[in-house]
Amino acid sequence: MTMLMAKPVAPSKDKRWKIVEATARRHGNARHALIETLHSVQEAFGFLDEDALRYVANLLQLPMSKVYGVATFYHFFTLRPPGKHTCVVCMGTACYIKGAGELISSVERKYGIKPGQTTADGNLSLLTARCVGSCGLAPAVVFDGEVAGKVTSSDLINRLGKWDEK
């Protein structure tokens, strides 16, 4: 006897779910497509919320526990929405040796957020990266996806100042 599964329904009418569905379909909705599908959700929406995880679980016919387990295992996936702007300070060895720790402290002092946190107004997220691979330009900081090299504390604060809500 074949079990007829109802086609999973996307959490909203948002067109971005089509991209997610296409990714899963490309892999034949197979269970091993989980990480690829989560990447596609995060790329489209910026983060993974519970609705998204449940939907992916349904799409790939996986238990929610597996999906949650994978989403929380990998650092790249985030379950919270990022701030409007993100500042990623590279904490690779080369950047560390050249003072990345001081960069983090300067943001902490000015904005009162620690790595992984977002300012109360949701404007700025401070993140750290294991290594962005720009070791030749250490210390490196990624501002909204754009890498800047040889950053000093004053450069960093100036740059972030441009994002401050007026």
């Binding site: 197979a30 990480i35 690829e36 597996k66 996936f77 060895t93 040796i97 050249k98 290594c131 720009s134």
Partner: protein, 562 residues
């Protein structure tokens, strides 16, 4: 695709290139791109067009030119008119290089094409940074446009694949790689030929080849540079490996944090498929091979082969006990060959030039070259490829140009969180797998971080331990709990609250974690602590509780806790 067609593409590309009197190459690898090399390229293109020089001057984006510290970098080639040369330059050293170029310099550079170079921008290339290197893996980096397959083919690309498919049996390919003495460049240095042979002999109709591009070591960007500068080289290496072991499906497991590398890989795969260099019946032989990309998601442990396989299968990247080794039971239980990017990138050159050529470079047990990401407190930070057997001193003081600001060298760290810090007295040891292990470090994947007197070695040990603690996957107790315990002791030491007994306890922990962990992450996690304890014990002693000194120097002021 047949051999004649491949030849035709190569000849057409070479003819086209030889029509240009000049080629201006702009480095568009990640390092220079972050210093706005894309704007420089645009400005140069506009300038050339405005002056009506587009018929005899080509402006193109190329892969990593190496000296990231001085980026954006631009090189200018003079191509002989109607020259008969193969399109490949004799020496890997560029004749004319400009450094720290901005878009505003474009006019001056183009104006100087047929005249004396723009002196204020010239970056001398007759210095050891360029002349002391030996390029195999990076031979096309900074020379070809990584986004055009024609340029790779014109540089003898895919000739090695054609050669093995039409003239060699799979076991002959394995024998050739074995004879070359190539060892795994991911860090452990396992003989590549032996690995290939095991997978080739393993029973099973379905086999897989996986390229490990999950470059997780903080302070290492070699694989990224290879993927961004010469992606076809890795595809060709994988195809040759697949033919040798009998696989028809390959995966590249690459970090999602490297968007440019992912983009260029995807493009390269599409181009190779369109020309029939990947897909079914390659070169009209029975051999079929296709490659898919799998994105990593930021877990250092996925560099470990069984964890990587779990991740490709869409699971949490946790390692499992071996045996069975992936060579016998890997991806979905099938025999699987896992090689690092740099290992695979060596393969086409070995096939093209022969095992003897490769074995003639380097030392007795470590053949060939090694790519290092040279960074930290050193003048010339960037990407280098040097013959095995070169000394650390040559790398740091000649290629690297020494320590800036007149400071004093203290240690060089190789192997990332799995490696160790090597002090000054060992600077004259040759760089090979065995020598580095002897002094308590490892070759590693190629991160090389230079530290000067401003670096605090206890802090460095703590930095790596924090990394291992966070990255421990949590499956086995020694690693999950042990790394946290070691971190706590190191934290106590840096706060100046530890006693000599704590340091002894730290040593015991190192011993337990090293010997009882499930995978390489735990087994090597104590290395940074052990090597700093071995060579910089005085720095630990100096930070013990003031009332608990072994008489080694005066008490240090206690650092305020975080």
């Amino acid at each position: 695709m047949n051999p004649e067609e491949l030849n035709k593409i190569a000849t057409a590309e070479r003819t086209m290139q030889s029509q240009y009197r000049h080629t201006i190459n702009v480095c568009v690898a990640a390092g220079c791109l972050s210093s706005r090399a894309d704007q420089v390229q645009q400005a140069l293109e506009n300038e050339v067009k405005q002056r009506g020089l587009d018929s005899h001057c080509d402006v193109k984006g190329v892969g990593c030119l190496g000296l990231c510290a001085a980026g954006p970098l631009v090189t200018v080639d003079k191509v002989t008119i109607n020259g008969q040369e193969s399109g490949r330059r004799e020496s890997s050293v560029p004749e004319l290089m400009y450094q720290s170029v901005t878009a505003a310099d474009a006019a001056e550079i183009v104006a100087a094409l047929d005249q004396a170079p723009v002196q204020r921008l010239v970056c001398p290339t007759n210095v050891p940074f360029f002349t002391r290197q030996k390029k195999i893996v990076l031979e096309n980096s900074g020379v070809i446009d990584p986004e055009r397959i024609e340029e790779y083919i014109a540089a003898d690309g895919y000739a090695a694949l054609l050669d093995v498919l039409t003239t060699k049996k799979p076991m002959e390919v394995v024998a050739e790689i074995t004879r070359s003495g190539l060892r795994g460049r991911g860090g452990a240095g396992f003989p590549t030929g032996l690995k290939w042979g095991t997978v080739a002999k393993a029973a099973g109709a379905t086999k897989y080849v996986i390229c490990n591009a999950d470059e997780g070591d903080p302070g290492a960007f070699m694989d990224r540079a290879v993927l961004e500068s010469d992606p076809h080289r890795v595809l060709e290496g994988m195809a040759i490996a697949a033919y040798a072991v009998g696989a028809s499906q390959g995966y590249i497991y690459v970090r999602a944090e490297y968007p440019l590398a992912v983009k260029r890989l995807k493009l390269a795969i599409r181009q190779a498929e369109r020309l029939g260099l990947l897909g079914t019946n390659i070169f009209h032989t029975p051999f079929s091979f296709s490659i898919e990309i799998r994105l990593g998601a930021g877990a250092f442990v996925c560099g470990e082969e069984t964890a990587l396989i779990a991740s490709v299968e869409g699971k949490r990247g946790q390692p499992r006990p071996r045996p069975p080794y992936p060579a016998e039971g890997g991806l979905w239980g099938a025999p699987t060959l896992i090689n690092n990017v740099e290992t695979l990138a060596n393969v086409p050159a070995i096939i093209r030039n022969g095992a003897d050529w490769f074995a003639g470079i380097g030392t007795e047990k470590s053949r060939g070259t090694k790519v290092f990401a040279l960074a930290g407190r050193v003048q010339n930070t960037g990407l280098i490829e040097v013959p095995m057997g070169i000394t650390l001193r040559e790398i740091i003081y000649q290629v690297g140009g020494g320590i800036p600001e007149g400071r004093r060298f203290k240690a060089v760290q190789t192997g990332g969180p799995s490696g160790g810090c090597i002090p000054e007295q060992f600077l004259d040891i040759p760089v090979d797998y065995e020598s580095l292990a002897q002094v308590g470090s490892i070759m590693g994947s190629g991160g090389m971080i230079v530290m000067d007197e401003t670096s605090d070695m206890v802090d460095v040990a703590k930095f790596f331990m924090e990394f291992c603690m966070t990255e421990s996957c949590g499956k086995c107790v020694p690693c999950r709990v042990g790394t946290a315990q070691m971190y706590d002791v190191l934290e106590k030491i840096t706060r100046g609250q530890a006693t000599a007994a704590d340091v002894e306890y730290l040593k015991d922990l190192c011993d337990v974690v090293r010997n009882t962990s499930l995978c390489g992450l735990g087994m090597t996690a104590p290395n940074p602590v052990l090597s700093t304890l071995r060579y910089f014990k005085n720095e630990y002693d100096a930070r013990l509780r003031p009332d608990d000194h072994n008489g080694n120097g005066a008490a240090q002021p206690v650092e305020v806790a975080r």
